[in-house]
Symmetry: C2
Subunit: 132 residues, 2 copies
């Protein structure tokens, strides 16, 4: 029965990252693999966090920002003061993300327009060439 724990290699294969990356994230306190002697064993929690880390990166968040966001998942460990600070942070982050989505929507529309225009140009150029 394969335990709920994964070696660094299994993690790398599962998430398409390098060992260096996982060790780096541990050093930055984004992951907390347990140790079997010297070797790292990654838990279910580490995998959940890594998934969120990679997503956060795709959104352009820094690792430090991601680290703070991840703390929302570890609420039990915190005092009320810290918790409410984290709550505020997450609320702001949500607002950021919704703003980002609105902007992304706008950018998509504009890019589509450009594409339509570009296609027209392309068509007219190739038909001109054919005529020569």
């Amino acid at each position: 029965m394969t335990e709920d724990l994964m070696t660094i290699r299994e993690m790398c294969d599962a998430f398409e990252v390098t060992p260096r990356t996982l060790r780096f994230y541990e050093a930055k306190e984004l992951l907390f693999p347990i140790r079997q002697g010297t070797r790292r064993l990654f838990t279910r929690r580490d995998r959940a966090r890594l998934k969120l880390i990679l997503r956060g990166k795709r959104f352009g968040f820094s690792l430090e920002e991601i680290r703070q966001l991840l703390d929302l998942y570890d609420i039990g460990d915190h005092q009320v003061t810290q918790l409410s600070k984290t709550y505020e942070l997450a609320t702001q982050r949500l607002a950021d993300m919704e703003r980002q989505r609105a902007e992304l929507d706008e950018a998509i529309v504009e890019l589509k327009e450009q594409l339509a225009w570009g296609k027209q140009q392309l068509d007219s150029l190739t038909s001109t060439e054919a005529a020569q």
Copy 2:
């Protein structure tokens, strides 16, 4: 009558960037200010490009990716081969952005759930404190 041209300082104030940033973007061929002697004068075109550059950055694109995207706006300068390559690039980029938007939507939903849960925890903790 203030010309359609802006000094580097006016640009910096308008877009909240540093002079260094604008010179850097010029060096990377993202902007093409004209020269009055040694000084840079930024055109309407530069401003349009800078707006897109800053937006692209917020989406996590690298300056090199942004440079290639910007070329879509300068289609007249290119050969057909180059144009169709640019067109393909933009099409792919659009797909990327739509994927990113879908993921962002999902992340927003999840973050909202976490927030609701966090709020509950926060409420129960503070009411417990009040009871003590």
